[in-house]
Amino acid sequence: MSDIKIRAKLKDGQTEVKCLMNHPMETGLRKDEKTGELVPAHFIQEVVCKAKDQVVMTANWSGGVSKNPYLAFKFTGGEVGDPIEITWTDNKGETESAVENIS
């Protein structure tokens, strides 16, 4: 099962996409409370949002985005049933992707 939850709703000609991703989003500046050592940076750097294989939006992030990131955006021209694909890539090169249809 994918770690990205997507909800895409068409309303008044605009599609609003909301998604939640599971990710620790470590800045690399935080210290471990027990050991006092810095927790290595581990955060999503890029999120690509596609509707029907067309890129609608690309987000570039720092570790300043909260843990388990939430992202919402809107676009025009979507239709019910169109696939929305969200793909993230983090600073370790890990990547995850999920698809959900517009309802």
Partner: protein, 157 residues
């Protein structure tokens, strides 16, 4: 007499050692997987430097057309919901900045042709500060700001 070549060699190995330690401690990103991720902008320590690296200029025009929705008081700086919206035409990108964070630039959203100039996310804030949104519309940069009071900082430490 000290052989100058030996001096140079020593200096070189010392420098390499320092970089190795920095990588090991996680101070430097071990690898930049994404070539288009703007490292200079995201690691900039202040707002003008971040904007110059991200958008080529730190000259922005203050605009009331940029609506920033964020709480007046955030009890937990680790999760501050922020929504940026504008009615401007030809919006190419929206950047979200927490001006008092150690690295202020939080996110930059590049909008495609069909995207509506609206983004919503949740950010970390180290302390009470302005949340700044910079919108690139046409060839110009516009900015808006909203103060968020933070009672517990969200950047650890």
């Amino acid at each position: 007499m000290i052989d100058p070549k030996r001096r140079i060699l020593l200096k070189g190995s010392l420098a390499a050692g320092t970089i190795g330690v920095a990588v090991g401690a996680g101070l430097l990103s071990p690898s930049l997987v994404l070539a288009n991720w703007n490292q200079a902008a995201f690691q900039a320590k202040d707002l003008p430097e971040a904007l110059k690296n991200l958008l080529g200029s730190d000259v922005t025009e203050t605009s009331d057309d940029i609506k920033i929705k964020a709480p007046d008081i955030a009890e937990n700086g680790a999760v501050v919901p922020v929504t940026v919206e504008t009615d401007m035409e030809d919006v190419k990108s929206i950047a979200i900045i927490a001006s008092a964070n150690q690295t202020p630039l939080i996110a930059s959203f590049d909008l495609g042709d069909s995207a509506v100039p609206f983004v919503s996310t949740r950010i970390k804030m180290a302390k009470t500060a302005d949340v700044v949104a910079v919108v690139q519309a046409g060839d110009k940069l516009y900015s808006g700001a909203k103060e968020v009071k933070v009672t517990i900082g969200g950047c650890g430490g």
